[in-house]
Assembly symmetry: C2
Amino acid sequence: MKHFHGTVRQERALDAYVKLLRAADTVDSFLMSQLEPAGLTPSQFGVLEALYHIGPLCLGELAHKLLKTSGNLTMVVGNLQKRGLVTRKRQAADKRFYLVSITEKGRKLIAQVFPRHVERIVAAMSTLSPAEQKSLAALARKLGTTVAARYR
Amino acid sequence: MKHFHGTVRQERALDAYVKLLRAADTVDSFLMSQLEPAGLTPSQFGVLEALYHIGPLCLGELAHKLLKTSGNLTMVVGNLQKRGLVTRKRQAADKRFYLVSITEKGRKLIAQVFPRHVERIVAAMSTLSPAEQKSLAALARKLGTTVAARYR
DNA sequence: CCGAAATGGTTTAATATTGAACTACCAATC
DNA sequence: GATTGGTAGTTCAATATTAAACCATTTCGG
């Protein structure tokens, strides 16, 4: 938005906003493009990674963690299920819940893909010094949690 | 990725990466949800805003600015055109180019929506002090440009 | 208990998004 | 000036994404 002119206050906020979004977008699309050889879309990777590291989750929890709608998760989990990477099981206690678990096949896939993914993140972030990385994390966290809480 | 355990170096990079993405996602989805009453999707708003502030652009330039593919822009611009918010004109000089311009109707819509949008950005960013906003912008910029340049 | 409200998921319709194949046009070279 | 190659956009098939309507189940107030 270099072509917008407002008050100092506005331009400062806009500038930080735009640069934040662009950085996130650039880093993320690079990382996600590297996942393609595994045949995983970004969303599919997100679901599998969560199940791999956290354990079985129900659809609503997945949706909450990935900041997506439940309708979306129905589709993404469906596609993972088709490929035998996850299972979906109706809970006996409360039949409204569907527990999603990663299968052995899914586990193997993530185990194969994740280490390289982490190394690419390290490489990408290494542009920033350790102190800068911590600073960025703290600022982003403060911004994200405040906005999330304010407009809940 | 609180459930991943690696080296200090890895966890620092992952933490910064995750918090960056989540902050961007949270702020952006809040802002974009506020645009719905205008009947604009995030992408449509992005295109319209660019045309409004920069002037007429061809499809490739729009794709580059919005970090999207040309195929995507064909669709988004098509939907904006259906609603009479932009026009698409074949260039005489080089007939491969299609120049996209905002119409008076589109201009009015953005003029009506944009000021509130800016104020919401200011409000969201105001969690951070002016110095923190500048710091965040600088760190995000450094990260984004380096990653974009490295993996071009 | 029972009917009403709340909750978890699915479905539906519309738009978005991508990569890849394809079309139209331009440019350069021989 | 025809072939060759490159560039701008479109089309296509598949997945993603959302909001809204809907279905099933549970919970709660009376």
